[in-house]
């Protein structure tokens, strides 16, 4: 019979809200942010009436400049990652030397919500982990109202180290809130979080444990690489796989090499447990709690490294499912940016100028591109078809035109080429040619981004649940 943890009302899953409310996304916009936003809108409206062309020109120039710097920064990160191996590798000798007695205890958190369908394959994947059972604490975190998954877990008749933790029904009903329950029930040295459909490499825990011994003490998090086991299911999963390959094999290693804040992936994050508790766990109100946590730990002077181990996930193969998932990620990035920009000067002091800029370019820049790209696509199309002079006027300064042309003609190509490079880095040689169609994928990203922008205002804490089990696991 699966051990079931009784409801633990003493577990404070909302500790971040109580301890550091100004770092919690419970409030989307602070009064100060709302006031600044309103003033900017008002000023823009006045300027638009008084000097429309000048305003558009200034906005255009600022956007072009941001695009240029954002693109150059990402190219720089990829350049670093391609030039040398940045990920933490662990040799077979180092693994062999990690004696059983010396292995740390490990908690595995697996938040589940309506995942009865994939529970079996999840458990099978976790049972394949090459780690002593007596050192493990595998918590299946299930919501109280999810009787289907609770019943499925009971039917599996799991023994230790598995235990079912029933999360009391409360708001917000989010993955990070559930994870916080598991965190404060954990007494292990290390902790990792996996999603329901995850298939981690069997030696990942050992690799992470060995890697933690090699890194400085301020490295409190190791991010494993994520990729998809259904890469070739359809065109969408091919694009998604290429994107993930770029993200985890090129961008994140580049960020690691420069010790910049890393937006964590939502799974396969390995932590030193006590340090995670010190950070008050995850933000239960942020729908990309992983990205937020990566920034918070950087603000406290901690660092993240990428470990050379892969967790295989299921790429969303349904278009609408993909858009919903992407909109949640975009909304979470917006939340993260707004939360940490509540006190920009403090953020600057905490991160330092270089990492502050990295935060703006990487996290802010992602949101910016999602939202602003369609505007420039439309401008380009209108110009090609009708040659409106207003468009020529806002590109009139030669440097604006020059940088804009560079972003359009060279920048876009390089981003497409990065997708090819990501596939090549991963060894997915046959996927490289599909990356040529990446601009279509960008349109989907922007659809997700705009959906997120509207939802940020209407339902900021709503969690767009991703459906799993549409593809057969390997």
């Amino acid at each position: 019979m699966t051990p079931v943890e009784a409801r633990a009302p003493q577990v404070d899953a909302l500790r971040l809200l109580r301890e550091c409310p100004d770092e919690c996304a419970y409030v989307t916009l602070t009064p100060r942010q709302a006031m600044v936003g309103a003033m900017l809108l008002l000023a823009s409206a006045v300027l638009l009436l008084a000097w429309p062309l000048k305003l558009l020109l200034v906005l255009n120039a600022a956007a072009i400049l941001f695009y240029t710097v954002h693109s150059l920064y990402k190219f720089y990160l990829v350049w670093i990652a391609m030039g040398r191996k940045v990920e933490l590798g662990v040799t077979p000798e180092e693994l062999a030397a990690l004696q059983d007695a010396g292995l740390p205890t490990y908690t595995i958190l697996v938040p589940l919500y309506h995942e009865a369908q994939v529970l079996g394959q999840l458990v099978a994947g976790l049972q394949r982990l090459d780690y002593p059972a007596h050192k493990l604490d595998i918590q299946l975190l299930v919501e109280e109202d999810d009787q289907e998954t609770i019943a499925a877990a009971g039917a599996l008749k799991l023994e230790k180290p598995f235990r079912l933790v029933v999360v009391p029904d409360s708001q917000p009903k989010t993955k990070p809130k559930a994870c916080n329950y598991g965190l404060y029930l954990s007494h292990s040295d290390l902790l990792v979080i996996y999603d329901a459909e995850d298939q981690p490499e069997p030696d990942q825990l050992q690799k992470a444990a060995a890697a933690f011994l090699k890194v400085p003490e301020d490295v409190i998090c190791l991010q494993a690489k994520l990729n998809y086991f259904n890469q070739r299911q359809n065109l969408l999963t091919k694009w998604f796989t290429a994107e993930y390959s770029v993200w985890f094999d090129l961008f994140l290693p580049g960020l690691t090499a420069t010790r910049a804040p890393i937006p964590l992936g939502g799974t396969s994050n390995h932590f030193r447990t006590e340090k995670l508790k010190e950070l008050n766990g995850w933000d239960p109100f942020n729908v990309t709690e992983d990205c937020d946590l990566g920034v918070r730990l950087a603000k406290r002077g901690y660092a993240t490294a990428v470990v050379d181990s892969t967790t295989w996930e299921e790429a969303s193969s349904s278009l609408w499912g993909w858009i919903r998932q992407r909109s949640r990620w975009a909304k979470g990035y917006m939340q993260t940016w707004l939360v940490h920009m509540r006190r920009p000067w403090r953020l600057l002091r905490q991160l330092g100028l270089r990492d502050f800029c990295s935060f703006q370019l990487f996290i802010g820049g992602t949101v910016f591109c999602y939202l602003v790209n369609p505007i420039y696509w439309l401008l380009t199309l209108v110009w090609l078809l009708w040659r409106w002079q207003v468009i020529a006027a806002v590109f009139a300064p030669a440097w604006v035109y020059g940088f804009g042309a560079l972003c359009l003609l060279l920048g876009n190509f390089v981003f497409v080429y990065l997708m090819v490079a990501g596939c090549m880095k991963r060894g997915y040689y046959d996927l490289a040619k599909w990356s040529v169609l990446t601009p279509v994928y960008w349109v989907l990203m922007s659809i997700g981004g705009w959906k997120a922008a509207f939802q940020l205002l209407s339902r900021p804490h709503y969690w767009e649940k991703t459906t799993h089990g549409l593809a057969a696991p390997p």
Binding site: W79, A392, W399, Y401, V420, A421, M424, Y429
Partner: protein
């Protein structure tokens, strides 16, 4: 040669770069400001960059020029935008070629050291290369061959490293360098073809799986395809003709063929260097390829029109570049440039200020009276610089003749509807 990655201290590479840069910049300055020698192609590219950046009204994209590859012009646009004097003093092109030339020297240093050439031999080869008349002329006159050389050297280094490590970054650098070269000079189209050939040879030698071959070729060919597509697209968007460059090449003739021979010879020399330095290719095959390549080019270059001396064409460029420091040979360069371009691509429309010693008197006069007189006065100093007027049709316009009152125009050369006149004082 042994494979040793990164052999040699990085300060040596920096030394090679800085020494070459200082030398090329100084010589470029001297060529333009002291000797008064300019390269017509470079002058044209600077003029186009100037007009594209500063012409009144909106951006004059057509003035970038689409009959020639755009890269030499585009690289000068930010320079002349920031400082007009670099255009009016004729220095912008030399700045770009000097920088490209110095970078080439540094890349070649890296390549030679990585393939195991000893330090002394490396420096000897570098000095011979950097100081050779052909390369010196290219780097000090704003010639696009400096850019081609840089891309060829980068491609050679990347190919050598990729052959050893199969690193993705080196494959990407090879692809990008080979793609960019034809945008500096059309004759450098041999470089992407050579890159594909080398990669196919090395993949076939390693018997790589079909999927890996496919992915590698996509990585290599995508930038090349994009550059070609972009060139056609921008030609179409800006000028309405995607094949503008093909429709506006001067009527082929001896002089045009001579220019193509020059460029092809330089590219072939660099290609041979690259082939020779890629390890594991059989030496006899490399030697045979080099002989065939160079022999074909030289034979083509020495073909002549009836009545022309055989050697005059194949090695004419060497004669002119060896005399780079001699003011009296400036005329031969003008003739060469005149012949090779037909004068048609020398000048851009619109007001361009230039104070140069080689003048042009096109129907749209672009030189101000004061500059012309100053240039003439400077030209008649004991330095012995000769001044010319280049004119289309029946001769210099009335305006130019008025400016040249007190001088006589002596016809020197006529080609394809253009005439070159030497300006001599009336004694």
């Amino acid at each position: 040669m042994s494979d040793t990655q990164g052999r040699g201290a990085s300060w040596e590479g920096w030394l090679a770069f800085l020494a070459a840069l200082v030398a090329y910049l100084a010589l470029a300055w001297r060529a333009v400001r002291v000797i008064g020698r300019v390269d017509w192609e470079a002058l044209a590219s600077t003029a186009r960059a100037y007009d594209a950046a500063h012409a009144t009204g909106s951006i004059n994209l057509p003035l970038i020029g689409f009959a020639d590859p755009p890269l030499p012009v585009l690289l000068q646009v930010p320079l002349v935008y920031l400082n007009k004097a670099w255009a009016t003093e004729g220095l912008a092109a030399g700045l770009v070629s000097a920088l490209a030339g110095a970078l080439t020297v540094a890349v070649l240093w890296k390549l030679l050291r990585e393939v195991g050439v000893g330090a002394a031999a490396t420096w000897l080869l570098l000095v011979l290369f950097a100081a050779s008349p052909v390369w010196l002329a290219a780097c000090t006159t704003g010639s696009q061959m400096a850019l081609v050389g840089l891309f060829a050297a980068m491609a050679g280094l990347a190919a050598s490293r990729w052959e050893r490590d199969r690193s993705l970054r080196d494959l990407v650098i090879l692809a990008l360098a080979a793609s960019a070269a034809p945008m500096a000079a059309f004759a450098a189209s041999a470089l992407p073809l050579a890159a594909v050939l080398v990669v196919l040879l090395l993949l076939g030698r390693g018997r790589r799986p079909a999927g890996e071959v496919e992915g590698t070729l996509v990585t290599l060919l995508l930038p090349m395809a994009y550059v070609v597509g972009l060139w056609l697209f921008t030609s179409w968007i800006i000028l309405g003709d995607p094949l503008y460059f093909a429709h506006h090449i001067p009527r082929p003739g001896v002089a045009w063929r001579l220019t193509m021979v020059e460029f092809a010879l330089c590219v072939a020399l660099l290609a041979c260097l690259w082939l020779a330095l890629v390890p594991r290719l059989p030496r006899p095959l490399v030697g045979l390829l080099c002989v065939l390549l160079l022999g074909t080019i030289v034979a083509a270059g020495t073909s002549t029109e009836p009545g022309q001396p055989r050697l005059a064409h194949g090695y004419g460029f060497l004669r002119s570049t060896v005399g780079a420091g001699d003011a009296r040979t400036v005329g031969s360069i003008a003739k060469l440039a005149l012949a090779s371009t037909g004068g048609k691509r020398v000048l851009a429309d619109g007001p361009v200020d230039f104070a140069v010693r080689l003048l042009s008197g096109q129907p749209q006069a672009f030189v101000r009276a004061g500059e012309l007189r100053r240039a003439l006065a400077a030209g008649h100093q004991p330095l012995g610089v000769v001044s010319y007027v280049l004119s289309e049709g029946p001769g210099p316009s009335a305006e130019v003749r008025a400016l040249l009152a007190g001088h006589r125009l002596v016809p020197i050369w006529r080609h394809d509807g253009w005439a070159l006149y030497e300006i001599r004082p009336v004694r």
